[in-house]
């Protein structure tokens, strides 16, 4: 069985500086896979490269076995990869509804309204404020909107970059529950997190990225038990 997404020996450079040196991982259909690692390890760069914002220096990115590294960002989205970026990056001067409509920008089918209703059902707070500007919302609400926006393209693979960043523990739990629900509904999820404990507990598979390289991999619960992971990322001696 080929994986939905497969990244092999990826390296990405900003000018002369290599942010990603050698990253390899695979995401199977229906799985939750997380990339964990410290700040600056190259996780965000990896996601930005997969979604077509950056061009790899070398290595391959396969979606269902076909290379996508040379495609433009909008083509990759049309192929079913949605990216919910770090820091949420909502269009703060637009309303909730407009943000969701932009999420469905590439869709030409008639199911957009129904999907929007589904997002409102999932996050009722958004439904109540659909005509308010997104910039006025709290961090947790913004994250909900960002996830909802990414879902609007009906992706097969949803990439979430630091969805828990800056959120309260309760809100974090809420977001992770949502991720579980999305998986149950059939979406494959690639999660990038600094909150390694929560991410790995949720994941079918995890990869540790360190200084631009994937150094460890394994099923989520095994990595959670791994001493090196515990020492480096969970703050235990």
């Amino acid at each position: 069985m080929t994986a939905l997404l497969e990244v092999q020996n990826l390296s990405v450079a900003y000018g002369a500086i290599e942010a990603v040196r050698d990253v390899s991982f695979a995401v199977g259909e229906g799985q939750i896979v997380s990339l964990i690692g410290s700040n600056g390890a190259g996780k965000t760069t990896t996601l930005r490269t997969i979604s077509g914002l950056l061009r790899p220096k070398s290595g391959t990115i396969l979606l269902e076995g076909k290379p996508i590294a040379d495609l433009a960002a909008h083509t990759i989205l049309e192929r079913g990869v949605a990216h919910c970026p770090e820091g949420r990056r909502l269009f703060g001067r637009m309303t909730v509804e407009e943000n969701l409509q932009l999420g469905a920008y590439v869709r030409k089918d008639s199911g957009v309204a129904a999907d929007m209703q589904r997002v409102y059902d999932l996050f009722p707070v958004l439904g109540q404020r659909r005509t308010l500007k997104a910039g006025l919302f709290s961090g947790g609400e913004q994250q909900m909107l960002a996830i909802g926006r990414a879902m609007m393209s009906r992706p097969r693979l949803l990439m979430l970059d630091e969805p828990s960043m800056g959120l309260s523990p309760i809100m974090t739990q809420r977001i992770f529950d949502t991720i579980k629900e999305l998986q149950a509904a059939g979406t494959t999820i690639l999660l990038v997190e600094q909150n390694a404990l929560a991410a790995l507990a949720l994941s079918d598979r995890g990869y540790v990225v360190d200084l631009g390289r994937t150094t460890l991999e394994g099923p989520g619960h095994e990595l959670l038990a791994d001493e090196r992971v515990r020492a480096a990322y969970l703050g235990e001696d």
């Binding site: 990405v12 450079a13 900003y14 000018g15 002369a16 077509g52 914002l53 950056l54 061009r55 433009a72």
Partner: protein, 612 residues
């Protein structure tokens, strides 16, 4: 009215234009395909460099010996013996054909030396193509038609075409193997005396080259219709040779040496510059032109503080030159001056500089609140307002449309600056004293600039240019620093204006129009933002080229515009890039890689990533 052409003509014209555009696009497309295919083919065959280089070199030599045009244009053979049959007079080869010969021989020689030959060949090839294009296009377009450069029945002339082919072959030779060799690094730790000798020789050569360039083809205009092509093809030749020297690391080495011995270099450069009147360019005409260049160069260096260092676009900068000039004129004792006193030049110049500086600070003050881009509009407006005010003789200070005429020349120790100077038995042309004064002024301005650049405030400016928010976060008082940049830049321009007033003797508002501000900006950019030699070189080129290309003077502004666009596209760091900026601009568009899509501006680290 006669010009009321009947209507179907427009459609015919439109059809022809569209057809021409289609043809041009098609040709460009085919050429690009061919070039790419050739590059790809050659990239896999590194061993072809010598055969290709040798063939190219030999063809260039042969091309130099063949006649280049078949006919005599107007009053003589098209520039410098272009119709000459080599075997009629084997040693009479001169001008651009001699240059072609030199390039060809160099190309052959370099193949057998342990040098980065692909880089050298590339430079020489481009030089040969430049010479060939200039000397092919000019006779063809100037009425000769294609027969001029091929055969008119009895005469044949394939020199130009052969050289073009030779140039292409040299470029192909440079493409073999796919990569250029690294530029060799020469050890700069040499004995002091050797370094001094090298520097003196380099600067003297520089002087001779400058004199040669000024003299090439004469002054241009009606008397000498060929000044333009002769000058342009000399430029192509010099660019080729300079590129070759850069390829073997020589220029980098010399500039490293001059960095090590900064003061020695400055003194020698100054002496060498003062030597220009003694060369073949020591005529009234070139002294005046050189003095004009000096005024513009000093002003351009001032502008370089604002644009190059602090990164603030000023589009009304010539107004400060104008303010300086009008102030000096009013204190000069000229009949039309507002004040009936004649101050010594030095005092008047200082007042001019101070007044201009005050205006600079005032114009710059909106920067405290206004973001950088908007400042461009504010400065542009200031320039326009200044022009309007001067045109309307504001406060009786500018003479309005009558200007302030008859500003007396500077007179020191009984020697009037506009008269010829005799030292011993050597008679120097008139204008030489202004030339000397301006050289000293430019040197002074350079020293000010260099010291500022390496000072605390200079680093603050550069920080503001790179990222104003970050600079503020580091505790730099950005508002103060920006106003100071305007103030100092304007002061220098005011000083230059004072010299300008005396030198031209008539100060009129129409010397200070928007297009002059664009010229100054173009000089800074052409030379390289933040670079001192760059600003001087830029000013020199922008003033010498129009002198040489009189017959194209209608197109002067258009060529300016085109130059601005092309430089920004292909060499945004300018001709003589500032060391600091060179690094930051090197891999951004400088190598001509088209960057297709939008860049990220939100995360600072992302700015230089290659995006699609």
């Amino acid at each position: 009215m006669k010009e009321w052409i009947e209507y179907p003509d427009g459609w015919i014209w439109l059809g022809q234009v569209l057809l021409a555009i289609a043809v041009v696009i098609g040709v460009v497309y085919v050429l690009r395909l061919g070039w790419r295919a050739a590059s790809a083919f050659l990239a896999t065959r590194p061993a072809l460099d010598r055969p290709l280089g040798l063939t190219g070199g030999v063809i260039a030599v042969v091309g130099a010996l063949l006649p280049w045009v078949t006919f005599r244009l107007n009053d003589g053979p098209y520039p410098d013996k272009a119709t000459l049959q080599f075997f009629d007079a084997p040693f009479a080869l001169s001008g651009f054909r001699l240059h072609t010969l030199v390039l060809g021989v160099l190309a052959i020689v370099v193949l057998f030396l342990p040098l980065p030959r692909r880089r050298v060949l590339r430079a020489l090839g481009l030089g040969a193509i430049g010479i060939a294009l200039v000397n092919i296009l000019f006779p063809v377009i100037d009425g000769g038609g294609l027969g001029a450069i091929t055969s008119d029945g009895e005469n044949f002339a394939f020199g130009g075409i052969a050289t073009l082919v030779a140039g292409l072959l040299l470029l192909f030779a440079a493409k073999t193997g796919g990569v250029l060799e690294p530029v060799p690094h020469w050890k700069s730790a040499v004995p002091r005396l050797v370094a001094y000798a090298v520097l003196v020789i380099s600067f003297v050569v520089l002087l001779l080259v400058v004199a040669m360039m000024l003299n090439a083809g004469g002054q241009g205009g009606v008397g000498n219709p060929y000044a333009g092509p002769i000058f342009l093809s000399l430029l192509a030749f010099l660019a080729g040779v300079l590129g070759a020297l850069q390829a073997i690391g020589l220029t980098t080495w010399i500039s490293a040496l001059s960095d090590q011995h900064k003061w020695f270099s400055v003194v020698v450069l100054l002496l060498v510059a003062l030597g220009l009147p003694f060369t073949e360019a020591g005529t009234d005409y070139w002294m005046t032109t050189a003095a004009n260049i000096g005024v513009y160069a000093a002003t351009a260096i001032g502008l370089n503080i604002v644009v190059g260092l602090a990164g603030l676009l000023d589009l009304g900068y010539v107004a400060f030159l104008g303010i300086g000039a009008f102030v000096a004129a009013n204190f000069s004792g000229a009949a039309a001056a507002a004040f009936d006193i004649e101050l010594p030049f030095v005092v008047a110049a200082i007042i001019a500089a101070v007044v201009a500086g005050i205006f600079g600070a005032v114009v710059g003050s909106p920067t405290l609140r206004v973001r950088g881009d908007y400042l461009a509009i504010v400065t542009l407006a200031f320039g326009e307002i200044f022009k309007k005010a001067a045109q309307n003789n504001i406060g009786d200070l500018t003479g309005g449309a009558n200007a302030i005429p008859n500003v007396p020349p500077i007179n020191w120790f009984g020697q009037s600056f506009d008269k010829p100077l005799t030292i011993g038995s050597v008679e120097l042309p008139s204008g030489v004293l202004y030339y000397v004064l301006i050289i000293v002024l430019v040197a002074l301005v350079m020293v000010v600039f260099a010291n500022l650049k390496n000072s605390r405030i200079g680093r603050a400016w550069i920080a503001i240019r790179e990222d104003e928010d970050a600079a503020r976060a580091m505790g730099i008082k950005t508002g103060q620093a920006k106003i100071l940049a305007f103030l100092i830049g304007a002061t220098l321009a005011g000083l230059a204006g004072a010299v300008f007033a005396h030198k031209t003797s008539t100060v009129a508002y129409d010397s200070f129009q928007f297009i002059e501000s664009v010229t100054l900006l173009a000089a800074v950019i052409l030379g390289g933002m933040g670079s001192i030699p760059g600003a001087v070189l830029g000013a020199a080129l922008l003033l010498v080229l129009p002198e040489k290309l009189r017959e194209f003077s209608d197109y002067r502004l258009m060529l300016f515009g085109l130059a601005l666009v092309l430089i920004m596209r292909f060499r945004p760091q300018g001709l003589v890039p500032d060391r600091h900026r060179r690094a930051e601009l090197a891999d951004e568009g400088a190598d001509g890689v088209p960057i297709e899509e939008l860049n990220v501006h939100d995360t600072p680290g992302d700015e230089k990533a290659v995006t699609r």
